[in-house]
Amino acid sequence: MSARRVVITGVGAITPLGLSSNQMWQGLLEGRCGLGPIRAFDASAFDCRIAGEAPEYNIRDFVPKSHRKATKLMSRDIELAVIASQEAVENSGFITKAHEGKTPTLNPTRTAINYGAELIACDLTEMAQSVKHCITDGKFDIHKWGQVGMPTLTPLWLLKYLPNMLPCHVAIIHDIQGPSNTITCGDAAGYLAFCEAVEMIQRDSADAALAGAGGTKVNPIGIVRQYLMGRANCASNDNPAAACRPFDAAANGTVFSEAAATLVLEELASANARGAKPLAEPVGWGSSQSLNTDYVHLEPNGQSMQIAIETALQQAGVAADKIDLVIPCGSGIACDDAAEATGIQNALGKAAASVPVWPIKSMLGHAGAAAGAIDLVAATLAIVHRQCGAAINFQKAAAGCKLNILQKPLRQKFNFVLCCGYSFGGQSAAVVLKAIED
């Protein structure tokens, strides 16, 4: 069986840099930082008071009339996924059920969806409206919860918070009836969802797929969790734009953001048949597991990153010195950056000193599950536009980091771009995208 080739034919993203992938791209090229003081809730008493928030939107503008009622069942994570997917579909040129009144060109049963998601925090203000009925002597009373609290909660409450609802809503909106999966690998979910979607097309389970990830930790419970775990930067509340400093000697934790990104994948021949323009081709991917009983951070030698990258390069059949650009995880968490740099350096060998590395979380923040999908969209756009921006917040390399962090924007053809990421819990992944030959 000759391998079916898979190409990217559409991208979409909602990030702190804008409501579209194009706005994100312009921001990244300009070196603009999308991070700022938290506005979503009063964070004045929180140790960490900064985040990357998405621009304001009205979700009803992003769904067809037939799905408007269902927007009531969407948590913010779901909304972000729906918005990014809508753009990706438009960008691909596919006509779907969402284009009411038009004949769809997307074949429902031959289209897959593979979406990354994470633990979704429930709306605490909504929950508090029910909990307030359940107080005895100033304490929560579970007996009252069963009797009078729980019944005040909306009947479909749970459905807003199931991680699999991201792809389920998108599948309903665009009528996607093929294989459907929800990858829940923490911060690596976007990468791993993308890899599996490519495999689904390769193995002929589908001819097209939506792949991506979405999520947010920008809510009271999400932010407090992250700083209690020691991942969030709590020392730069007065200077959010300088807070996230991947691979910099002064890195002091990451900044969390909310985002989603979606890519449309297609089997090459069917993309050509409908006249779609391929943007980039995933040619290699690999994943591994960090083995660290601390579970929060990467193992110090970055071995899982090394294995994931080596596997991806091997599958792509590409030597390390042929990689033109690396978009790393670069979270700004000092020990994780050090481990990742070691892993990349070991995987790329001598080439590591020269291959340009472009960390983008300094501008976008760490979008959790969505991060990997954002990296892949950025890599795709770098390939298409033959340019990329410079790192920001990088002044002095952290100890042990010998990577060539980009000091100025590049304008050149990128034949191969390597992206990589990892999660708390240990899942690690790398993807090599290749430019489409002229």
């Binding site: 994470e118 749970l158 591994s288």
Partner: protein, 435 residues
């Protein structure tokens, strides 16, 4: 190149037992895992019973209990299940120098795993302490004071659904492909199916696949109670799960973990390990209908069934047993029966199909793989597990549900189907191994 995919080890921790022989014996002897809820005070909840894993002792399975002591219930259960499965497959665990002939870079993990339990004290106390009646919202300054004081970082981390896979990695040293999925009640069927694809298409030689989940906590039960998905037969927990019966009134929630070792046939032969069954087909689909209901004509379920049968290169006449999703909810059991009839036509009535959920409860994310293990045991023992509590059959549901007692049968091919809330459907087909 396509590889044949075989099962070389199985492990389970569930309400009917903490190893496969005890679990299977429970199924064969009509045992029930249901009883009054003990994990929290559910005495005023609409549903006051469940199927809990009781008396689980991780030290029975592993040396380094300390590596997993902060793990959520699902993480702990799955470490126990994975340790059993690895022993059966002769995979070395808890060692830096494995001598089992498997390259750790070629060993993957794929779990269908759910979220860990919320820290109830921190969660509810913070809302109580911060409530502002005049503003009808929490005061976040007060909220964070209580939340930050009461939250324990590792318990917060353990709510993330990728954590069980992290624990299995520490146990086994697996360094290959690692994925987790959470497609609601279909998660671990999907995990095993996708894991089989990784092995078939050469992404790994061995994958530790399965599921882990516990939603038996106040917010989990609240969510399902509000959906009116759970049985409220509080006066009779052991007969409450009664799939395909006329008086079924919802599912009974369980918890647990189940793991199968998937391996290329070449690797299993080279290592000389016993082959339990072969994974031959996988199908996945999306209802694309409503997030609240299954498609009325079972469109998505039918597509997944047909895809799996075609993937296996089989016909409907080759399927000897269907392990149903069989939740005991009104909607599922009707639509599922319709799906089987639609795909199998007249032949449907000749295929025995049963639901182990009648005894072990619904393990949510972990349920698919637990039931897949019953399929493998059915093939190995040539015995069908029953649907218990089926005393008043629903006249509209007229398949052979193997009511109330196990049955000897010739079983060469068994099919496991699972359907998740939101419309994600998954089917895995396994076959008796022969050269």
């Amino acid at each position: 190149m396509k590889h044949r995919v075989v099962i070389t080890g199985m492990g389970i921790v569930c309400p009917l037992g903490h190893d496969v022989p005890t679990f299977w014996n429970g199924l064969m002897t009509g045992k029930s895992g249901m009883a009054q809820t003990t994990l929290f005070d559910a005495s005023t909840f609409p549903t006051q019973f469940d199927a809990e894993v009781k008396g689980f002792d991780l030290s029975r399975f592993v040396k380094h209990v300390d590596y997993h002591k902060n793990g959520n219930r699902g993480s702990q259960f799955v470490v126990g299940a994975a340790a059993q499965a690895c022993r059966q497959a002769r995979i070395d665990i808890e060692t830096d120098a494995p001598a089992d002939g498997i390259d750790r870079r070629r060993m993957g993990i794929y779990l269908g795993a759910g979220e860990g339990a919320v820290n109830d004290d921190a969660f509810f106390s913070a809302l109580v302490d911060s409530w502002q009646e005049d503003k009808q919202s929490p005061d976040w300054t007060k909220w964070v004071k209580t939340a930050a004081a009461k939250m324990r970082p590792m318990q917060e981390l353990e709510q993330e659904p990728n954590m069980p896979a992290g624990h299995v990695a520490i146990l086994t040293g697996a360094r290959g492909v690692s994925r987790s999925c959470l497609t609601a009640c279909a998660a671990s069927t999907q995990a095993v199916g996708e894991a089989a694809m990784l092995v078939r298409y050469g992404k790994a030689d061995v994958v530790i696949a399965g599921g882990a989940h516990s939603m038996i906590h106040p917010l989990g039960i609240t969510g399902f109670n509000r959906l009116t998905a759970l049985s409220t037969r509080n006066d009779s927990p052991t007969t409450a799960s009664r799939p395909f019966s006329a008086s079924r009134d919802g599912f009974v929630i369980g918890e647990g973990a189940a793991v199968v070792i998937l391996e290329t046939l070449e690797s299993a032969k080279r290592r000389g390990v016993n082959i339990l069954a072969e994974v031959v087909g996988f199908g996945s689909s999306s209802d694309a209908f409503r997030v609240t209901d299954m498609h009325e004509e079972a469109r998505g379920a039918c597509q997944a069934l047909r895809a799996a049968i075609a993937d296996a290169g089989l016909t409907i006449y080759d399927i000897d047993y269907i392990s149903t999703h069989g939740t005991s909810t009104s909607e599922n059991d009707s639509i599922e029966t319709l799906a089987i009839k639609t795909v199998f036509g007249e032949h449907a009535k000749k295929i025995p199909c049963s639901s182990p959920k009648s005894q072990m409860g619904h393990l949510i994310g972990a349920t698919g793989c637990a039931e897949l293990i019953t399929c493998a045991m059915a093939i190995l023992e040539q015995t069908l597990p029953p649907t218990m509590n089926l005393n008043d059959p629903d006249p509209a549901l007229d398949l052979d549900y193997v009511p109330n007692a196990p049955r000897k049968a010739k079983i060469n091919v068994a099919l496991k189907e699972s359907f998740g809330f939101g419309g994600q459907n998954n089917v895995v087909i396994i076959k008796r191994y022969s050269e």
